[in-house]
């Protein structure tokens, strides 16, 4: 293993791993399509869970969007280490001459692409189904989604790696990860609600600051801690 990995070297090998995961995903498309359908289904089902004359669709949309992103994201992240479970692929990855941080970063990058892909389809879909005007706030919404996705993916990837080879993995991952998603989903949903109500993004700066701080702290912490979760 290259002990003296430079930051650039870590990123380069992370990119190779991310590309490998995305290539697998692109050729099978099984997880992405499932996550997408799950996301669209929940948007549709949530619409019927409320009385539309009592709660307007625009008030419902932020909550629905973020619950949907959280769960479809978890589905993708669970799979990201699941693909390494067969044929000793995880061991092969570990003996590959790349720094351990690269494995985490690569997996996280692929997961980020996965979550952003689901978001890119779900947002227009909810605008269509709930009759929302997302046009004016699109840039700000995209910013919030990217910031939130980075936070979700950093913690989610680490926990996916930890739970992958335990029994109850698919159940344990949400139990561990969801409390960590609270400081992401709360700012993201509140900001989305503000933006959809036509209020300026400046009103949500306090929330966006939490998102930014969460991303900085947890991307760094998870990258440092990931190698410690692996067997030496």
């Amino acid at each position: 293993m290259s002990r003296h990995a430079t930051p650039l070297g870590i990123l380069a090998s992370a990119w190779v791993i991310a590309r490998k995961d995305l290539a697998i995903e692109f050729r099978t498309r099984s997880a992405f399509l499932s996550a997408l359908v799950l996301s669209l289904l929940s948007i549709v089902i949530f619409f019927f869970a409320w009385d539309p004359t009592a709660v307007g669709p625009a008030d419902l949309a932020p909550g629905v969007l973020w619950v949907t992103f959280t769960f479809s994201g978890l589905l993708g992240m669970h799979r990201s280490f699941g693909v390494e479970a067969h044929d000793g692929a995880m061991d092969a990855l570990l003996i590959a001459p790349v720094p351990r941080q690269s494995i985490f970063l690569g997996k996280a990058l692929a997961n980020l692409a996965f979550v952003l892909g689901v978001q890119a389809v779900s947002l227009p879909a909810i605008a269509l189904f709930y009759n929302l005007a997302i046009g004016p706030a699109f840039g700000a919404l995209a910013l919030v989604m990217v910031l939130a996705a980075i936070g979700l993916v950093s913690v989610g990837t680490l926990f996916a790696g930890m739970t992958a080879n335990t029994r109850l993995a698919e159940l344990l991952l949400p139990v561990l990860a969801l409390p960590f998603f609270v400081p992401i989903v709360m700012p993201a949903a509140n900001t989305t609600a503000n933006l959809l109500a036509g209020r300026p993004i400046a009103e949500s700066f306090a929330w966006i600051r939490i998102l930014l701080a969460f991303d900085l702290v947890f991307v760094y912490a998870c990258m440092l801690l990931f190698p410690l979760t692996l067997d030496d």
Binding site: V155, L158, L168, F180, V182, M186, A206, F214
Partner: protein, 233 residues
Amino acid sequence: MTDSMTVSARRRRPDPVALVALAVVLIAYGRAIWFTPPEMLQGYAQKILYVHAPAAWVAFLAFGLTALAGAFWLFLKDPRLDRFAESSAEVGVIFTTAVLVTGPLWGKPIWGTWWSWDARLTLTLFLWFIYVGYLVLRGVISEREQRARYSAVLGILGALLIPFIHLSVYLFRTLHPMPIVANPNGINMPPVMIVTFFLCFFAFTCLYVAFVRARMALATERDALDAAVLGDS
């Protein structure tokens, strides 16, 4: 076999720390129930504070020490640190449960509602979720080294998460203020109550030490038994 039997025979004798803790708890709560006057406005409902606040203190202490023990384990790899983290987390969950049960009991007569999404209440609830998750994670991993590693990482991340949850729930609450009928203020307490109050803190801290000692003794025996059965280390 004979080894583990002598071990359990030796443990039959009660832990002196537990006896001290029990005595202090009896003194503190005897004083709280019979020798401390009820609060003027809240009446007898206020007495639940003598359980609620010390339990919250022990819960935070327990989880803080769990995270610390985990962090130190990553460097020292001493199995005793992991056993301590395990015991402290479990005792912490018990005390957090006590906080979450006594809170609504007090909230109903004083706030007029069982539950309110108050910032501190919400934080405690999420703390409970994090550490129940911690115990579940420990429960599904049978390999000792791996279990210690994962718990240490989760403990550290949990400690990092707490300020973020606190910030979010605080911001959420200030944006949507909730009616709070009464606000308990610890500083404006008559001396007789303050003495009882701190005695209860001391009592619960002793109780924490006694519980963790008992739980650690159990963990030590379990590890010894595992090692004897599996023949490893």
